[in-house]
Amino acid sequence: MTKASALPQFEDHQNQTHKYTTCYMCACRCGIKVTLEDEKIRFIQGNPNHPVNKGVLCAKGNAGIMKQLSPAKLNKPLLRKPDSERGAAEFEEISWDRALDILTERLANIRATDPRRLAYFTGRDQMQALTGLWASQFGTYNWAAHGGFCSVNMAAAGLYTMGHAFWEFGDPDWDQTKYFMLWGVAEDHASNPIKIGLKKLKERGAKFVAVNPVRTGYQSIADEWLALKPGTDGLLALAMIHVLLRDGQIDDEFLIRYTNAPQLVVNTPGQVGDGLLWRDGDDATQVYDQLTESFAPAMSADIAPALMGEFETPDGVPVRTVFSILLDKYMDPQYSPAAVAKECGIDAATIERIALEMAHVAFQESITLGIEWTDWAGRKQTQFIGRPVSMHAMRGVSAHSNGFQTCRAIHLLQILLGTIDCPGGHLAKPPFPKHIVPPIKPAKVNAPNTPLESAPLGFPTCPEDLLIDEQGQPQRIDKAYSWDAPIAAHGLMHMVISNAVAGDPYPIDTLMLFMANMAWNSSMNTSETMDMLRAKDADGNYKIPFIVTCDAFNSETVAFSDLVLPDTTYLERYDTISMLDRPISEPDAACDAVRIPVVDANRDVLSWQEVMVEVAGRLKLPAFTNAQGQPKYENYKDFIINFERAPGIGFLAGWRGENGDQSLLGAPNPKQWEAYEENECFFKYELAPNQRYMRHANLDYLTLAKEAAWVGSTEQIVIELYSETLQKFRLAGQGLYDGPQPTEENQKQRLVRYFDPLPSYYSPLEQQSVSSEEYPFYAITQRPMFMYHSWDSQNAWLRQIMSQNYLYMHRQTALDMGINDFDWAWVESRSGKIRVQVKHMEGVNPNTVWTWNAIAKQGGAWGLSDDTNEAKQGFLMNHLISELLPSDKGGSRMTNSDPITGQAAWYDLQVKITPATAGEEGSWPQFAPLKSPPGYTPAPTKQGYASHTNVNLNRPWSDIFGRRSS
């Protein structure tokens, strides 16, 4: 705009500075530019150059000033008063020296005796590479982040199928896709990248189909909304697969070249080895080559494998191709649209139409990019062919106990259409794709004063990889990698407290939590979890003897801690968003980023990564100790610069080498932090055009990926429609495995039933065990966009958007039950009861009720007053969800989780609803308000933040007179 008239100088730009860093309010990790004046924040805006957010910010990022000003910030380390009870929030302030002495002494003792008695679990954090390294150096395998109740089904299904996954490991090709299906994504996972992408595709006239029981957020702008019944996404995907197969609408070239569809599977039901891939003497999987009319190693070039067929090996073993098995399975009438329509709540014609619309886009509207590239066999290719159909899926798929198989079914749908890592399809993001499955096995041995031989978490490929003892009993405190959850690649954080208190499989000494609100909204079964944290043995000692919590804010969990370590806010810390961790890469670029402090912490706080490095030095963990036995790293910054996982590979990939002129790998650069700071705190390594697609079979890409240590070899990554890994577990359940096998009947049954080597559907476990007549509603939760991942009820601006959650019900259904808008009602599950306020809506599956999660808070927590709406009217659905399934006939109770990955099944919930009687108002249960921590400054009852005195724009006198006279 050109200046239209003389305006006052509103901003004193001379007095303002700009600093770049990275947002922390969710896992998107957008780049931000912060304008400061007089040490106050004037404005936080998106960095237009940043690969993730390209200049935009969400509501949380825009409310960062209020996050920084939160009255819930902790000020100083806290120690529970010796005569006080857990949960009473009676603390004394102590010095950092004392806090670190207490912690180090306790941990040194555990490490010298039985390191697994430390259970270390982290919540919504973004530094698992550091905390995982720390745990493995400490020597405890009882470590995980919150993936076990968030997204392990998605990550594991993707990695076990195609070497990358939805969300952090892959993205739809927003720029070229012409048909997009969104499965079970409320308003989150991801935030800004999805919004930016949806705009692009709507501008292009691409079709957007949303599968979700609830129509809010992203679904509100979908061209078509499928209000399916919760937990049936897998069945819907398999019905579409049925249609595609029936009509021959599949990319057979893609299947033959890039997947294990033509590979031969042993077909000897009831015998040891049935269902495994048939291998020759050199252990190579086989196909039937139509050119030579003979068997050939599957990985050979220049053969023409048969997609279908049954054969007999020279030794007389019957074999058939993966595709033949697949065809048999999915052509069964049970998968026809008509057969699934009722169960899914979607009519057959719609299922059929959408499947065929996608086929049209894939095969009639394909994209050809004339870019030369080299395939895995070293052959020049002249073009990339794109099948511009893409998908994204998250919470609504992952949080069901059938989520792993459902996610595999969605991937199979994509693969049959040939839409994997091609233009317009679902693209991998470096350092993905990985070979299937990533060659990291979970560490198995814990020994005093000894690091683990590998990472605590990994990817099992057979029963031998489980963490079980000779009797088949679980070894990890969360029972990950046991028969209960064999492929628990992210652990089972939701089981830790319950198992530790039960001493099953053994008691622990210390529970260390970082940014995990386990005494409130991050636990299933919240009230009982609080009781467990307070539970004592016969001698009056706490069953979990010591609880350490690190958080920047006064969460509900702080009250239950023995030692509280106050963290910095995101604007006060050094941090890395590393490719060794949860990367922020884009499909066409490998990216990482840092945080640098933009404001000073005016409190006695230390960032958790600083504490990790310091305590590691004090404990003399080998990777943190030099040859003289002294701490190797001065602080976190020093650690980040100098730590190398392998020569040349560190936490940050940018500006490596002594002179800072190397990318991806190179010697440590003493000026690396400065280089990041100069470059707006992010690093972006763009892939060449020939490295951007078909990366599972692209030598140009795989060569780079090997150099950068993203993959171990340049061999083709063969997509696994058929998972031999799953079949090995199934054989163990059938008693046909040559190796460890379960002894308990229910474990055997679970393996046989759920470990189908091809994507399959089964009803969610809770739905199998509770009566739908008694509990007729499916109950789910979603995260509002302005709170996603952030529990920002302490944010003065965001809580004005919402400070109370309601139970949303289908209007007609509610009216039929005599429940009016804003009435109170009781909601009851097999394990609990809550009272909630109901709101009607139209855009919801009639048998589904839902609410916004993590709005409810305990009075007094998060800097809130005792009588806030969050505490008095808000409610947690968590009270209704048990971490255990109902007992089986033998009385044993299994974890309420996906039987394959152990993902917490908090979307499986079924409830009944009854109107509250007159006078029953307010949410229930209620909890006594929490006492404020020492040093707490009560929040003001009125506030108007401004970083400078505002410059008013006066109405000119001429205007006043001019107008009045006219």
């Binding site: 200046k3 008239s5 805006q45 509100s220 021959g248 065929l356 049209h360 505002n950 107008r963």
Partner: protein
């Protein structure tokens, strides 16, 4: 000039980013501070210049969810201005922005009653009326990088559903969008002649089905495809 916003209802996901960006910028902007009462207590509420309303149209199963950002429309016939007894409310000649002179406003609320769009909010701190300034303190500020001389809500919108510009200039993006997408004013029948325009949701297009002809599955034969 006739400055205003074109807001795309086809792509607004109701994320509230524009509302908080507006609050953030303007609390230290010319019309700030924007005061909040009970920010950490019961019934928190404060002055906002832009709010998102989400509502449903039609009945299940054909219901649609619409997200509707609402800020001042900078009306051409703005009764909020004519009713103002102190002359604090005015519409600028040069660009049509409707503003409130904070030194003149006495907080009488007449303008808020006159505004049918709920765009005016009385600040509980200053006792004066607040409303969207169209970020007059950004759009003309030549010391901001050129790309940033845009309203705070516009630069932050993740779906790029807010476009700022001059409706008098037929070549401006807002004029073009208004034309191409048949942008509509809100409640034109009231005669306020709002400048802001809302781009209606696009109509779904019918899509062709099926494409590849391998034949029905029974007839699929193994093709010779080289690996």
């Amino acid at each position: 000039m006739k400055l205003g916003l074109a807001i795309d209802l086809d792509t607004c996901v109701g994320c509230h980013a524009c509302a908080t960006a507006c609050k953030q910028w303007n609390t230290s902007g010319t019309i700030g501070p924007l005061t909040d009462t009970n920010p950490y207590g019961k019934d928190p509420n404060g002055a906002w210049l832009n709010r998102i309303r989400t509502f449903e149209v039609d009945e299940s199963p054909l219901s649609k969810t619409v997200n509707m950002p609402l800020s001042c429309m900078h009306c051409e016939d703005a009764a909020c201005v004519t009713v103002c007894p102190t002359g604090a409310s005015y519409k600028r000649d040069e660009d049509g922005i409707v503003l409130i002179d904070q030194d003149r406003c006495m907080g009488c609320n007449l303008c808020a009653w006159a505004c049918p769009y709920g765009a005016r909010e009385l600040d509980p701190g200053s006792g004066t009326m607040k409303k969207c300034t169209l970020c007059v303190d950004r759009i003309y500020d030549e010391q901001l990088p050129e790309a940033e001389r845009q309203p705070a809500c516009v630069i932050t919108c993740p779906t790029n559903s807010r476009v700022f510009g001059d409706f008098d200039d037929p070549e401006s993006e807002v004029s073009k969008l208004q034309k191409q997408r048949e942008g509509k004013p809100l409640m034109p029948e009231l005669g306020y002649n709002p400048v802001n325009t809302y781009l209606p949701p696009r109509e779904p297009i019918e899509r062709p089905q099926g494409g590849k002809v391998l034949g029905k599955v029974k007839q699929i034969v193994n093709r010779i495809i080289h690996r």
